[in-house]
Symmetry: C2
């Protein structure tokens, strides 16, 4: 993806993100914001500081080219990018790396690795970009002879493009930018921009039911998936390319969200879109959160389907968009590759005005261009959006807890839900950290409810970051589940959300999943600890 | 649903549909169309003509009120409404009715019936409206001590309405009209109008992944389902009401399309819509099928999302809309409860014109009304659409084969697919029946492909209807599968499509389903023969 190496301890590429100087400035700013003198700043680990244990299992000769024990790769594949992961990296805690990292270059290689691991009771952790924030790619697995991280990023080609149906057959290991780069010359785009876009892969998106940054319709990766190829220890499964089907339960929906526990996605036919050429944007200020929520509900039910309908609560509007702490901000946008959007935006603004927003006509911008879709205001916002995770590493260095959790809830329950969740979580933050900020935005809205996304920033006690984070996380998880939400809207379950997920899903469904697992992964080697435990484990 | 009894042998209610006189007229018209003198007209069976075998298993006393052996009900629950089913009914062949018909009035009753059947190895056929055209509710099951048809239609209430999220908790046994009737006072609609609307149920729609009559978006019932309650022999499963979620593979998508093989759906929270008040319609004539297909593709990819975008090929346009046999007809419509549709229709018509259609401005009709959505031109069309199945009974009486099969295929392959399927099926019709008509329409269109729907009408040899139909059906099934389509877009798999389905799904996925089946229905009593055979059967 670049000549530069991926960091083994934090977000993205070596040399990118805040350097020591910038990190100090961020730490100082946090200190001023929270009234703390002398915020300590830890420095990130170097490879030389780590002592990795030797692999516990031998590598078969036949897999010499595919399976490596390079220390950088073993360290990098030890963790995902959750807060817990970053803190452990800063603590130089790499005591349980994968024994080996496999880089298959073909589906046959994937089959060989699974065969090897199946025969030796080695756990396999499918790994795309490794950007999981929920413990989805943890290598410290108990109960197996060894652990192999199965990195799919050498399966990185667009294999076929069907311009007429607007679809492409894409290998699972492609990172976002390379994927979009390959589609651009054809005037096509997958138009899936999760915050991890630069450092996550198609296969990871599919396995975790990732959400893109668009607010309505065409946002979860689920809906873009036309068919999939999945290698399981029991054989290879392929679904037909179909625009729609009613033939039995959906093949693909069983593997979407399976988080590497049922098989390894090697490629998929993905539904694409024409690159947008028409845009309309408006930033709409509401006098408070409540009328803004009602306006957003009306927009979500209008059938207008804005591409962006991101609502920032007063706290979030203040911290990230210069709000006054009382007003809420709605970022509204439409995009099209086909038609001018005046009628759409006009009606959307009318709805906002009906709900108490003052929208001066000059706040509405419409544009027509044939240029690249990453340019312009929306593109700039998107660029800052996808580079945000770099900044988090600085918060970790400064011993600030930085955590986000997202959920979804129907409109009728949102007000009570929000009240219960924010009061429980704020109380936990205050109790555990003394102080801290909690804010909310809607990242996605559906006709039947929003997907609220909460952000926590709180000073933690150096050395106790993980314990404090764990405690807050636990309160947030219980609050979300107790109040009827989903444990995750688009970050997946992994190991971190297992307690919440176990309460959310029905026991019957868990047994159904175990039934599938017993057929496709009878030895239980695939991503142990995630989603469900197989029989007898 | 009415004071009148449901027919046990054909579509709908006693006293509705063509009477003897009307049937004779239809037969004569078919005779004229196909050049056949003296078309015979069979009369439908009466209950007195049947001799039903006695139930083979005893009914437990505790279920006396729920489980009945009324002859009319046993006869009515013997078959669905496929061509094969209707012919067998006309032949007075009711030799394998269900031993009993259960009418649970509560979820507890459903549990009791499953417990009884599980303990006595009695097969259970979940039954909604019984409108299956794919052998989904066949009672002639081998290998079990008895067969019970489990009729859900007494679970017929809307239990809760959430106006704010536009959702309702609805029992699975509600027929379409009652369901819409209960929502209408709240200004809401499920807006799901399959052709079987009057005589099919919510539970049936969910179990079979039914398609409504709208052409784009919001058409498959899958997308309307917010959560479900399912009684399985292994326990009751309930998913959370969520507008969206990324927590593991979707609960609901496992049961959607499970066709009664994994559990019995008892209720669901369904996503609703506001009743449309704005409409725009146009009937667009194209000089031929090819440019019409291209226009339809462009419309499907425009992001305009017409509510109707039904393309009739020249044969279909001629037989059902007065076309000249050369021109194709596109029925185009937009509906909204929120905004005027001029911009939408204007751009859609522009796209049609770009593809060679002449659309005079007066062919475009827009309307605003606060009235009931079933009124008006679209409503009239819908009423004729949902009453069409009555006419089929007359074709059966006249020994004409009347069959439809539907599929979906990506745009890039459509032309070849259509050519291969129509030439294979037409050749089969000519060989087997001497002559017959084959036509095509698109019932649904997706950005990546259409859902073509084929209609066959052909004179059959009296007494050999089923054999001739079987032979044609077999050719159609092979042609669809050989050329990359799905064995069903919205009619489900049932027993009739099993051979095609077995070729379509991957073996790995079949084993996954068997894994689920082994946990949720370990005795294998639920709808045997449909979708997959459990282990050891």
């Amino acid at each position: 993806m670049s000549d530069r190496q991926l960091k083994f301890w934090g977000w993205g590429l070596e040399g990118e993100g805040p350097d020591a100087e910038a990190t100090k400035k961020i730490a100082a700013a946090l200190g001023r914001r929270f009234g703390i003198d002398d915020v300590p700043v830890a420095s990130p680990p170097t490879l030389a500081e780590l002592s990795l244990p030797a692999p516990r299992v031998a590598r078969p000769d036949a897999l010499e080219k595919v399976v490596v024990d390079d220390p950088h790769e073993r360290a990098r594949h030890s963790y995902g990018r959750s807060y817990r992961d970053l803190v452990r990296a800063f603590r130089r805690d790499f005591s349980r790396p994968p024994d080996w990292v496999a880089f298959p270059e073909s589906e046959a290689d994937v089959v060989s690795v699974l065969d090897w691991c199946g025969s030796k009771d080695i756990a396999v952790i499918p790994f795309g970009g490794g950007s999981s924030v929920v413990g989805g790619v943890e290598s410290a697995i108990e109960g197996h002879a060894g652990v192999v991280s199965l990195d799919l990023t050498r399966l990185d080609q667009v294999l076929e493009i069907d311009r007429s149906s607007r679809a492409a057959r894409i290998q699972a290991g492609m990172y976002g930018p390379a994927l979009e780069g390959a589609l651009r010359p054809h005037g096509l785009t997958l138009r899936h921009f999760p915050q991890s876009f630069e450092f996550s892969t198609l296969g990871g998106w599919l396995a975790t039911r990732a959400g893109g940054h668009f607010a309505t319709r065409y946002t979860h990766i689920d809906d873009f998936c036309e068919s999939m190829r999945v290698v399981t220890p029991h054989g290879v499964s392929e679904s037909r390319r179909l625009p729609g089907s009613g033939a039995g339960p959906s093949h693909d929906r069983l593997f979407l969200g399976s988080e590497g526990t049922l098989g390894v996605i090697t490629e998929a036919w993905m539904r694409l879109q024409d690159r947008p050429t028409q845009r309309a944007n408006a930033s709409v200020v509401f006098p408070g959160f409540e009328p803004a929520v009602e306006a957003t509900r009306a927009l979500s039910q209008s059938g207008l389907e804005p591409s962006n309908c991101r609502l920032l609560d007063p706290a979030e509007a203040a911290s990230s968009a210069g709000g006054d702490g009382k007003t809420a901000l709605l970022v509204l946008a439409f995009e099209s590759a086909d038609h001018a959007l005046d009628a759409w935006m006009q009606r959307a603004v009318e709805i906002c005005r009906e709900h108490g927003a003052e929208v001066p006509d000059e706040a509405i911008r419409t544009r027509t261009d044939a240029g690249a879709s990453r340019e312009g205001a929306a593109g700039a916002w998107r660029n800052s959006f996808v580079s945000a995770p770099y900044a988090r590493d600085a918060l970790v260095a400064a011993s600030f807890i930085s955590e986000t959790f997202e959920t979804a809830i129907t409109w009728d329950r949102f007000a009570d839900f929000h009240q219960s969740v924010t009061s429980a979580v704020q109380a936990a933050i205050d109790r555990i950290c003394g102080q801290g900020a909690l804010s909310c935005r809607f990242t996605h809205v559906y006709p039947d409810g929003p997907a609220p996304y909460y952000t926590i920033i709180a000073p933690s006690r150096p050395g106790a970051e993980i314990e404090q984070w764990d405690e807050i996380k636990c309160v947030a998880m219980d609050a979300v589940i107790d109040n009827g939400g989903t444990i995750t809207h688009h970050h997946a379950v992994g190991r971190d959300h297992r307690p919440g997920y176990d309460r959310q899903r029905s026991d019957v469904f868990a047994d159904a999943l175990r039934g599938v697992k017993s057929r496709l992964d009878p030895a239980g080697i695939l991503n142990p600890g995630v989603l469900v435990d197989p029989d007898g484990r």
